[in-house]
Amino acid sequence: MIVGAIVVDTERCKGCELCTQACPFGIISMSEDVNSKGYHYAYLADPYACTGCENCALVCPDTVITVYRMKVEEPSKAKN
Protein backbone atom coordinates (compact mmCIF):
# COMPACT_ATOMS: atom_id res chain seq x y z
CA MET A 1 0.00 0.00 0.00
CA ILE A 2 1.25 3.46 -0.91
CA VAL A 3 0.93 6.21 1.67
CA GLY A 4 1.82 9.83 1.25
CA ALA A 5 1.74 13.28 2.69
CA ILE A 6 2.15 16.83 1.54
CA VAL A 7 3.78 19.78 3.25
CA VAL A 8 2.58 23.22 2.16
CA ASP A 9 4.85 26.24 2.43
CA THR A 10 2.03 28.30 3.91
CA GLU A 11 3.85 31.62 3.66
CA ARG A 12 4.33 31.25 -0.11
CA CYS A 13 0.85 29.87 -0.83
CA LYS A 14 -1.36 32.39 -2.64
CA GLY A 15 -4.62 30.53 -2.04
CA CYS A 16 -5.52 29.94 -5.71
CA GLU A 17 -7.27 26.65 -4.82
CA LEU A 18 -6.06 24.85 -7.96
CA CYS A 19 -4.61 22.06 -5.80
CA THR A 20 -8.02 21.44 -4.21
CA GLN A 21 -9.37 20.79 -7.72
CA ALA A 22 -6.43 18.63 -8.78
CA CYS A 23 -6.56 16.29 -5.77
CA PRO A 24 -8.22 13.04 -6.90
CA PHE A 25 -9.56 12.46 -3.37
CA GLY A 26 -10.63 16.04 -2.67
CA ILE A 27 -8.79 16.04 0.65
CA ILE A 28 -7.05 19.42 0.30
CA SER A 29 -8.90 22.39 1.77
CA MET A 30 -8.23 26.06 2.31
CA SER A 31 -7.46 27.22 5.84
CA GLU A 32 -9.62 29.58 7.85
CA ASP A 33 -6.41 31.35 8.83
CA VAL A 34 -4.51 33.63 6.51
CA ASN A 35 -0.76 33.94 6.03
CA SER A 36 1.14 37.20 6.38
CA LYS A 37 0.06 38.25 2.88
CA GLY A 38 -3.60 37.66 3.69
CA TYR A 39 -4.10 34.52 1.62
CA HIS A 40 -6.02 31.49 2.84
CA TYR A 41 -3.45 28.74 2.39
CA ALA A 42 -3.99 25.13 1.35
CA TYR A 43 -3.72 22.32 3.88
CA LEU A 44 -4.25 18.58 3.91
CA ALA A 45 -7.67 18.27 5.52
CA ASP A 46 -7.63 14.46 5.68
CA PRO A 47 -3.93 13.67 6.24
CA TYR A 48 -4.37 9.90 6.59
CA ALA A 49 -5.84 9.52 3.09
CA CYS A 50 -3.08 11.08 0.97
CA THR A 51 -1.33 8.73 -1.46
CA GLY A 52 1.39 11.18 -2.51
CA CYS A 53 0.23 11.20 -6.13
CA GLU A 54 1.83 14.64 -6.76
CA ASN A 55 -1.19 16.02 -8.64
CA CYS A 56 -1.53 19.00 -6.32
CA ALA A 57 2.16 19.82 -6.58
CA LEU A 58 2.11 19.53 -10.38
CA VAL A 59 -0.57 22.20 -10.83
CA CYS A 60 0.67 24.48 -8.05
CA PRO A 61 1.82 27.68 -9.78
CA ASP A 62 4.03 28.71 -6.89
CA THR A 63 5.58 25.30 -6.17
CA VAL A 64 4.73 25.52 -2.48
CA ILE A 65 3.89 21.82 -2.09
CA THR A 66 6.47 19.18 -1.22
CA VAL A 67 5.22 15.62 -1.67
CA TYR A 68 6.31 12.57 0.33
CA ARG A 69 5.46 9.01 -0.57
CA MET A 70 6.42 5.62 0.83
CA LYS A 71 5.45 2.03 0.40
CA VAL A 72 4.19 0.07 3.41
CA GLU A 73 3.00 -3.46 3.66
CA GLU A 74 -0.75 -3.91 3.70
CA PRO A 75 -1.90 -4.63 7.27
CA SER A 76 -3.99 -7.59 6.05
CA LYS A 77 -1.06 -9.12 4.15
CA ALA A 78 1.29 -8.55 7.08
CA LYS A 79 -0.91 -10.73 9.27
CA ASN A 80 -0.80 -13.67 6.86
Binding site: A5, D46, N55, V59, P61, Y68, R69, M70
Partner: protein
Amino acid sequence: MAKVKHHNIPLDQIIKPENIVFKRTKLFTDNVLSYCPGCGHGVAHRLILEVLEEMGIADKTIGIAPVGCSVLAYEFMDIDMQEAAHGRAPALATGIKRTNPDKFVFAYQGDGDLAAIGTAETIHTANRGENITVIFINNGIYGMTGGQMAPTTIYGMKTSTTPYGRDPKQMGHPLKITEIVAQLPGTCYVTRQAVHTPALVRKAKKAIRKAFEYQKQNKGLSFVEIVSNCNSGWKMTPVQAVKWLEENMLPYYPLGDLKDIGLD
Protein backbone atom coordinates in the same frame (compact mmCIF):
# COMPACT_ATOMS: atom_id res chain seq x y z
CA MET B 1 -13.78 11.67 -7.06
CA ALA B 2 -11.67 8.62 -6.20
CA LYS B 3 -12.54 6.63 -3.11
CA VAL B 4 -10.68 7.70 0.00
CA LYS B 5 -8.81 4.94 1.81
CA HIS B 6 -7.41 5.76 5.22
CA HIS B 7 -4.23 4.45 6.77
CA ASN B 8 -2.85 4.74 10.27
CA ILE B 9 0.83 5.36 9.55
CA PRO B 10 2.08 8.29 11.68
CA LEU B 11 2.78 11.29 9.48
CA ASP B 12 6.26 11.82 10.91
CA GLN B 13 7.19 8.42 9.47
CA ILE B 14 6.12 9.55 6.02
CA ILE B 15 7.48 13.10 6.13
CA LYS B 16 11.18 12.24 5.90
CA PRO B 17 13.78 13.49 3.40
CA GLU B 18 14.19 10.02 1.87
CA ASN B 19 10.47 9.89 1.00
CA ILE B 20 10.42 13.13 -1.00
CA VAL B 21 8.99 12.53 -4.46
CA PHE B 22 8.34 16.12 -5.43
CA LYS B 23 10.03 19.29 -4.27
CA ARG B 24 10.79 22.77 -5.51
CA THR B 25 13.69 22.65 -7.96
CA LYS B 26 16.91 24.27 -6.79
CA LEU B 27 17.01 26.30 -9.99
CA PHE B 28 14.29 28.53 -8.59
CA THR B 29 15.61 31.51 -6.65
CA ASP B 30 14.15 32.20 -3.21
CA ASN B 31 12.08 35.11 -4.53
CA VAL B 32 8.31 34.73 -4.36
CA LEU B 33 6.87 34.70 -7.89
CA SER B 34 5.32 38.07 -8.73
CA TYR B 35 2.41 36.46 -10.58
CA CYS B 36 -1.22 36.54 -9.49
CA PRO B 37 -2.61 33.52 -7.59
CA GLY B 38 -3.30 30.66 -10.01
CA CYS B 39 -1.32 32.09 -12.94
CA GLY B 40 0.07 29.53 -15.40
CA HIS B 41 3.42 31.34 -15.63
CA GLY B 42 4.57 29.72 -12.39
CA VAL B 43 4.05 26.20 -13.72
CA ALA B 44 5.68 27.09 -17.04
CA HIS B 45 8.74 28.49 -15.23
CA ARG B 46 8.97 25.37 -13.12
CA LEU B 47 8.72 22.99 -16.07
CA ILE B 48 11.54 24.77 -17.93
CA LEU B 49 13.75 24.69 -14.83
CA GLU B 50 12.97 21.03 -14.15
CA VAL B 51 13.85 20.12 -17.74
CA LEU B 52 17.14 22.06 -17.55
CA GLU B 53 17.93 20.33 -14.26
CA GLU B 54 17.11 16.87 -15.61
CA MET B 55 19.15 17.42 -18.76
CA GLY B 56 22.02 18.83 -16.68
CA ILE B 57 22.35 21.90 -18.91
CA ALA B 58 21.35 24.65 -16.48
CA ASP B 59 24.88 26.08 -16.35
CA LYS B 60 25.08 26.40 -20.13
CA THR B 61 21.63 27.76 -20.78
CA ILE B 62 20.81 31.41 -21.46
CA GLY B 63 17.19 32.47 -21.18
CA ILE B 64 15.63 35.59 -22.62
CA ALA B 65 12.98 37.32 -20.54
CA PRO B 66 10.25 39.20 -22.39
CA VAL B 67 8.19 42.28 -21.61
CA GLY B 68 4.89 41.55 -19.94
CA CYS B 69 4.00 39.86 -16.66
CA SER B 70 7.03 37.59 -17.00
CA VAL B 71 9.40 40.55 -17.44
CA LEU B 72 10.97 39.61 -14.12
CA ALA B 73 11.52 35.95 -15.07
CA TYR B 74 15.24 36.45 -14.43
CA GLU B 75 14.43 37.18 -10.78
CA PHE B 76 13.00 33.69 -10.37
CA MET B 77 15.16 31.48 -12.57
CA ASP B 78 18.62 30.89 -11.19
CA ILE B 79 20.23 30.64 -14.63
CA ASP B 80 21.88 33.15 -16.95
CA MET B 81 19.24 35.43 -18.38
CA GLN B 82 18.98 38.51 -20.52
CA GLU B 83 16.11 40.95 -20.79
CA ALA B 84 14.92 41.88 -24.28
CA ALA B 85 13.03 44.91 -25.54
CA HIS B 86 9.33 44.25 -26.10
CA GLY B 87 8.88 41.48 -28.66
CA ARG B 88 12.57 41.27 -29.49
CA ALA B 89 13.39 38.15 -27.51
CA PRO B 90 13.90 35.93 -30.61
CA ALA B 91 16.22 38.56 -32.15
CA LEU B 92 18.28 38.72 -28.97
CA ALA B 93 18.24 34.92 -28.74
CA THR B 94 19.54 34.78 -32.33
CA GLY B 95 22.51 36.98 -31.44
CA ILE B 96 23.31 35.03 -28.29
CA LYS B 97 23.03 31.66 -30.00
CA ARG B 98 25.14 32.69 -32.97
CA THR B 99 27.93 34.01 -30.78
CA ASN B 100 27.64 31.13 -28.27
CA PRO B 101 26.63 28.13 -30.38
CA ASP B 102 27.53 25.72 -27.56
CA LYS B 103 24.96 27.28 -25.22
CA PHE B 104 21.28 26.41 -24.98
CA VAL B 105 19.19 29.50 -25.64
CA PHE B 106 15.49 29.92 -25.05
CA ALA B 107 13.10 32.85 -25.37
CA TYR B 108 10.23 32.99 -22.90
CA GLN B 109 7.41 35.16 -24.24
CA GLY B 110 3.77 35.98 -23.70
CA ASP B 111 1.20 36.52 -26.41
CA GLY B 112 1.34 40.32 -26.28
CA ASP B 113 5.09 40.08 -26.74
CA LEU B 114 5.37 37.26 -29.27
CA ALA B 115 2.17 37.56 -31.30
CA ALA B 116 1.71 41.34 -31.37
CA ILE B 117 4.71 43.64 -31.21
CA GLY B 118 7.16 40.81 -31.86
CA THR B 119 5.38 39.09 -34.76
CA ALA B 120 8.09 40.05 -37.25
CA GLU B 121 10.91 38.78 -35.01
CA THR B 122 9.01 35.58 -34.29
CA ILE B 123 8.29 34.75 -37.92
CA HIS B 124 11.72 35.68 -39.27
CA THR B 125 13.62 33.94 -36.49
CA ALA B 126 11.57 30.80 -37.13
CA ASN B 127 12.01 31.14 -40.88
CA ARG B 128 15.78 31.52 -40.55
CA GLY B 129 15.75 28.28 -38.59
CA GLU B 130 17.70 29.68 -35.68
CA ASN B 131 18.71 26.97 -33.29
CA ILE B 132 16.76 28.23 -30.30
CA THR B 133 13.73 27.23 -28.27
CA VAL B 134 10.76 29.56 -27.92
CA ILE B 135 8.34 29.08 -25.04
CA PHE B 136 5.14 30.98 -25.79
CA ILE B 137 2.58 31.58 -23.03
CA ASN B 138 -0.80 32.34 -24.61
CA ASN B 139 -3.51 33.65 -22.30
CA GLY B 140 -5.35 35.66 -24.95
CA ILE B 141 -4.98 38.99 -23.20
CA TYR B 142 -2.52 41.72 -22.26
CA GLY B 143 -2.22 40.74 -18.60
CA MET B 144 0.26 43.22 -17.17
CA THR B 145 -1.21 46.41 -18.64
CA GLY B 146 -4.74 45.78 -17.43
CA GLY B 147 -6.39 43.08 -19.50
CA GLN B 148 -6.69 44.71 -22.93
CA MET B 149 -7.49 42.77 -26.10
CA ALA B 150 -4.50 40.98 -27.63
CA PRO B 151 -4.23 39.56 -31.16
CA THR B 152 -4.83 36.15 -29.58
CA THR B 153 -8.07 37.17 -27.80
CA ILE B 154 -10.72 34.68 -28.94
CA TYR B 155 -14.10 35.50 -30.49
CA GLY B 156 -16.56 36.98 -28.03
CA MET B 157 -14.02 37.24 -25.24
CA LYS B 158 -14.55 40.21 -22.94
CA THR B 159 -11.52 42.32 -22.14
CA SER B 160 -11.16 45.87 -20.88
CA THR B 161 -10.99 47.16 -24.49
CA THR B 162 -13.68 44.79 -25.81
CA PRO B 163 -16.32 45.04 -23.07
CA TYR B 164 -18.99 43.50 -25.33
CA GLY B 165 -16.72 40.72 -26.51
CA ARG B 166 -14.36 40.54 -29.48
CA ASP B 167 -16.31 41.13 -32.68
CA PRO B 168 -14.35 39.96 -35.76
CA LYS B 169 -16.05 42.54 -38.01
CA GLN B 170 -14.57 45.36 -36.02
CA MET B 171 -11.53 43.85 -34.32
CA GLY B 172 -10.40 41.15 -36.70
CA HIS B 173 -9.70 37.52 -35.93
CA PRO B 174 -7.68 35.77 -33.22
CA LEU B 175 -4.16 35.09 -34.45
CA LYS B 176 -3.05 31.47 -34.47
CA ILE B 177 0.63 32.27 -34.63
CA THR B 178 1.67 28.73 -33.71
CA GLU B 179 -0.01 27.45 -36.89
CA ILE B 180 1.86 30.10 -38.90
CA VAL B 181 5.19 29.17 -37.33
CA ALA B 182 4.54 25.47 -37.98
CA GLN B 183 4.38 26.12 -41.73
CA LEU B 184 7.86 27.62 -41.85
CA PRO B 185 10.64 25.28 -43.00
CA GLY B 186 13.05 26.58 -40.34
CA THR B 187 11.12 25.03 -37.47
CA CYS B 188 11.65 21.46 -36.34
CA TYR B 189 9.15 21.04 -33.52
CA VAL B 190 6.00 23.08 -32.98
CA THR B 191 3.50 22.08 -30.34
CA ARG B 192 0.66 23.47 -28.28
CA GLN B 193 0.28 22.44 -24.64
CA ALA B 194 -1.55 23.54 -21.49
CA VAL B 195 -0.71 23.36 -17.79
CA HIS B 196 -3.99 23.50 -15.90
CA THR B 197 -4.41 19.81 -15.04
CA PRO B 198 -1.83 17.34 -13.70
CA ALA B 199 -1.92 15.22 -16.88
CA LEU B 200 -1.41 18.25 -19.12
CA VAL B 201 1.46 19.45 -16.92
CA ARG B 202 3.20 16.11 -17.42
CA LYS B 203 2.65 16.33 -21.20
CA ALA B 204 3.85 19.93 -21.35
CA LYS B 205 7.03 18.99 -19.52
CA LYS B 206 7.72 16.23 -22.05
CA ALA B 207 7.15 18.74 -24.87
CA ILE B 208 9.58 21.26 -23.35
CA ARG B 209 12.12 18.50 -22.87
CA LYS B 210 11.73 17.50 -26.51
CA ALA B 211 12.15 21.12 -27.61
CA PHE B 212 15.51 21.30 -25.82
CA GLU B 213 16.50 17.89 -27.24
CA TYR B 214 15.89 19.31 -30.71
CA GLN B 215 18.09 22.27 -29.87
CA LYS B 216 20.79 19.86 -28.69
CA GLN B 217 20.72 18.21 -32.12
CA ASN B 218 20.81 21.57 -33.99
CA LYS B 219 17.60 20.86 -35.87
CA GLY B 220 16.23 24.38 -36.03
CA LEU B 221 13.75 26.41 -34.04
CA SER B 222 11.59 24.52 -31.56
CA PHE B 223 8.40 26.25 -30.46
CA VAL B 224 6.20 25.34 -27.50
CA GLU B 225 2.95 27.23 -27.01
CA ILE B 226 1.34 26.92 -23.58
CA VAL B 227 -2.31 27.91 -23.45
CA SER B 228 -2.63 29.51 -20.05
CA ASN B 229 -5.05 31.45 -17.90
CA CYS B 230 -5.08 35.07 -16.78
CA ASN B 231 -7.65 35.11 -14.01
CA SER B 232 -7.01 38.75 -13.12
CA GLY B 233 -7.39 39.88 -16.72
CA TRP B 234 -10.33 37.58 -17.33
CA LYS B 235 -11.94 38.80 -14.06
CA MET B 236 -12.44 35.29 -12.68
CA THR B 237 -11.24 33.20 -9.80
CA PRO B 238 -8.39 30.82 -10.70
CA VAL B 239 -10.76 27.83 -10.58
CA GLN B 240 -13.31 29.57 -12.84
CA ALA B 241 -10.54 30.68 -15.19
CA VAL B 242 -9.28 27.13 -15.64
CA LYS B 243 -12.80 25.95 -16.43
CA TRP B 244 -13.32 28.83 -18.86
CA LEU B 245 -9.99 28.03 -20.52
CA GLU B 246 -11.03 24.43 -21.05
CA GLU B 247 -14.45 25.35 -22.44
CA ASN B 248 -13.52 28.35 -24.59
CA MET B 249 -9.79 28.61 -25.29
CA LEU B 250 -9.05 24.97 -26.07
CA PRO B 251 -11.66 24.59 -28.87
CA TYR B 252 -9.99 27.50 -30.70
CA TYR B 253 -6.45 26.54 -29.71
CA PRO B 254 -6.50 22.73 -29.86
CA LEU B 255 -3.68 21.00 -28.01
CA GLY B 256 -1.14 18.72 -29.64
CA ASP B 257 1.90 18.66 -31.89
CA LEU B 258 1.62 20.71 -35.08
CA LYS B 259 5.02 19.73 -36.42
CA ASP B 260 7.58 17.17 -35.39
CA ILE B 261 10.32 16.34 -37.88
CA GLY B 262 11.76 13.64 -35.61
CA LEU B 263 14.84 13.41 -33.42
CA ASP B 264 17.90 11.41 -34.49
